[in-house]
Symmetry: C2
Subunit: 155 residues, 2 copies
DNA sequence: CCTGAAAAGAACTTTCT
DNA sequence: AGAAAGTTCTTTTCAGG
């Protein structure tokens, strides 16, 4: 797993915006042949630099239009509280993102739900199945302002 | 834009996990022919139910390995503060996600950066260019526990 | 080792039933 | 909707920096 050159970095920025773009179109943008772009994409996938390629869907069409951002406090003396929560969260489709953070709370999660009652059910299950979680502070999302997982490439 | 049937919903769940999966493989999973799956994918894209298809990359390889979750308070008497912040955020590659929320803060943003100094620079520019932002509360992400934009499809 | 170009293979799109 | 023909894209191969 070596250094990424200018071409790799440009390809990574492009594919983070649209991973269905044809190799030939990318080739034109970065100044390589289509074969060279394909070879680099294959290597970036194998090396785990490209971790996955996914569709972003319209939440309103999904039947789970609501989003909640939840701060949680965990028991610090519980050594593997984090690892166990990770295993739990990984299996919950409603739990979109979880971050372990510094600050007032220990964990911040982004959770989708059908409606507020549904979120209340999810929160109850979360507390019941994760006794290491002491408290939850919920923010209701009223509107998405920006939504991506894009990461810029350092020059 | 009509109702989604069982096949559409299954296809949407699959493509949210892996949008490079071949139509034939999806067809086998859902119980349709490859042509039928392709036709449905085309329609889902045209109707905006599939909003985009993007690569998820390893942040550590990007040169912007750090993440900050930022709560912000805005001036409520400023009528179009939200709209103006949206336009600003849309242009900032470091600003990955922004949500307008209820609660202690008005906006929650997820921001990537090279390191803490870089984040400090970004925060300074944010405050300078968005006078409608009154205060920022920053959480440093120590570890990703789960990371996706997956939304489950209601049954 | 990595490129570009051409051949071979695979996938997608269109047409027809 | 499925199947087959037609088209486009990707993968492999090969010659050359």
């Amino acid at each position: 797993m070596e250094q990424l050159d200018r071409f790799d970095r440009e390809i990574i920025e492009i594919i983070q915006r649209n991973c269905q773009m044809k190799a030939e179109a990318m080739a034109e943008e970065v100044g390589l042949s289509a074969s060279a772009v394909q070879r680099r994409l294959k290597r970036l996938r194998e090396d785990g630099i490209i971790k996955g390629e996914v569709a972003i869907i319209d939440r309103k069409s999904s039947g789970h239009p609501m989003v909640f951002i939840v701060g949680m406090e965990i028991e610090r003396d519980n050594y593997d509280a984090l690892a166990r929560f990770r295993l739990w969260a990984e299996r919950q489709d409603h739990v979109q993102q979880v971050y372990y953070v510094t600050g007032q709370v220990d964990l911040i999660a982004i959770i989708t739900a059908r409606d507020v009652e549904h979120y209340d059910d999810i929160a109850a299950v979360l507390m019941a199945e994760n006794p290491q979680i002491r408290r939850m502070h919920t923010n209701v999302v009223l509107r998405d302002i920006k939504l991506s997982l894009f990461v810029p490439m350092a020059k």
